[in-house]
Amino acid sequence: MNTKKILLVDDEKGFTDVLRLNLESTGDYEVKVVNDAREAVKQTIAFRPNLILLDIIMPFLEGPDVVMALQENESIKNTPVVFLTATVTQEEVDQQQGIIGGHPFVAKPTNFEELVSSIEKNAGMVY
């Protein structure tokens, strides 16, 4: 099977629903949704994604905290992360060549095509 596994971590259920539909309908991705960031590490270990799409501002646990928690876990610490966030503008993302604070960023709302190209660029092997 050639599909990539994407873990989508975002508290906005409406958003994760439509994004999952879009990603799955390309036939290229298998998507697992996590709406409660506290579940992110557990689901990463269970699902073994090629890439995590991670929202930044979430209740209970914010995006950067999730990254730190992943780091503490040897088996998943190299999983690529793309931040998906409404807190910065596309212009700011472009100015930094898509990388802010060491991680690739995609600004919400961004065209689906751009999101896909960022996924393709950053997705990695499953360890």
Binding site: F15, L21, T89, N111, F112
Partner: protein, 402 residues
């Protein structure tokens, strides 16, 4: 006592005095009193009418004027008002008739510094009144200046606080609004690819939703922009390069509206220290405004030159006198068009957020306020005026570091 007073007021600088008095007895009396050499009056002149007084004050500068209010061509308080309005820096001592103490006191409210009661003064009290009037006027002007400075500072503080609140509000709103926008956008993307109905109307509806989503997002981005203070990336940059880049960015609109562009750029142009992207954004906003004001086949003229600010310019452009000093050197960039110009009643509102006369054509009304904000963050300014003949002129003022 006289000794002590001399410490406060300087009695030794030579004075020039204008006497405005039509009663011969009075002005002869005043003139002869002022002749005493120990009073150091270097010059005195008598005029008998208000018109002559105004003429004399325009021709020569006087240290102080003694004014009788009832002249052949002007009576009462009006005489004083006329003089203080035309010559706001001139110290004035009013010479009132006997038994007019009330009037005398009232004149202080109209801008006189002291009053004499005819035939009740001596040479010494006269000269003391003149010297004190000068000192009072000086203190009054100093106070006025301090008050102005204070009110500028106060306005700045209010503005800074307002921007802080807007900034916090804007980023909060942006986050809350962009999330649902992203949901709408991906929803539309999905439907566009999967609606099987062979009906063009569905695609039209979906396209409209997508366009509306992008527009809403642009408003949010503009709002964030407006609110983002002090994140400037300043570097020495050529204004000419900025102009070229901006023109190429709006090239499409220039062609579409069949507008011609002409340029007049000073040869000795120095670099300015600015955030290039931000200034480009300003120039693009102004170019678009100019282009949209033109019906078809008009001209946009760009002029760049070094120069000073005169006090008339400071006033007519509504600049703060505390930042922009008469005589300081700046770099000016004008963008002039021969379009519709601006209705007088709208001139004051141009830089209000969301003021637009182009709402129906997609105007948001953030172009000028955002641009003005950016210019002010560069310690420069932006103003938009009507040209003398037709159309409008937007002027950017940059500080040149000399």
């Amino acid at each position: 006592m006289a000794e002590k007073e001399k410490n406060v007021v300087n009695f030794s600088d030579p004075l020039s005095v204008l006497i405005v008095e039509d009663n011969e007895v009075d002005y002869k009396m005043l003139s002869s009193m002022l002749k005493d050499e120990s009073y150091k009056i270097s010059y005195s002149q008598v005029t008998e009418t208000l018109a002559d007084a105004v003429k004399a004050l325009k021709e020569k500068s006087f240290d102080v004027a003694i004014v009788d209010l009832n002249l052949s061509d002007s009576k009462g308080e009006l005489t004083l008002k006329e003089i203080t309005e035309q010559f706001p820096l001139l110290p004035v001592v009013v010479n009132t008739g006997a038994y007019e103490d009330d009037l005398g006191l009232k004149t202080l409210g109209y801008g006189a510094q002291d009053f004499l009661v005819k035939s009740k003064y001596t040479a010494y009290t006269l000269i003391k009144a003149l010297r004190y009037a000068i000192e009072r006027k000086r203190l009054e002007l100093e106070l006025k200046d301090t008050m102005e400075q204070l009110s500028v500072t106060q306005r700045q503080l209010i503005e800074a606080e307002r921007m802080r609140i807007i900034g916090g509000l804007a980023s909060g709103v942006a986050h809350e609004v962009k999330n649902p926008l992203a949901t709408i956008l991906y929803g539309v993307t999905y439907l566009t690819d999967h609606v099987q109905v062979d009906d063009e109307k569905y695609q039209v509806v979906l396209d409209n939703i997508r366009a509306a989503t992008h527009k809403a997002n642009n408003i949010i981005v503009d709002l964030l922009d407006f609110a983002s203070l002090s994140r400037l990336n300043k570097k020495a940059t050529s204004l000419e390069d900025i102009i070229e880049k901006s023109l190429s960015l709006v090239g499409h609109e220039i062609d579409k509206h069949k507008v011609s562009v002409s340029k007049e750029i000073t040869k000795d142009l120095q670099d300015i220290v600015v955030d290039k992207n931000r200034i480009e954004q300003v120039v693009v906003n102004l170019l678009l405004n100019a282009i949209y004001s033109i019906t078809e086949g008009g001209n946009v003229h760009i002029r760049v030159h070094n120069g000073c600010l005169s006090s008339e310019m400071i006033k007519s452009m509504g600049l703060s006198e505390h930042y922009f000093k008469n005589g300081d050197r700046y770099l000016f960039m004008h963008i002039e068009d021969n379009g519709s110009g601006i209705k007088n009643e709208n001139l004051d509102k141009l830089c209000d957020p969301f003021f637009t006369t182009r709402r129906a054509k997609g105007g948001i009304g953030l172009g000028l306020p955002v641009s003005k904000n950016i210019m002010e963050l560069h310690e420069g300014s932006l103003c938009v005026q009507n040209k003398e003949d037709e159309g409008a002129r937007a002027t950017l003022i940059f500080r040149t570091s000399l």
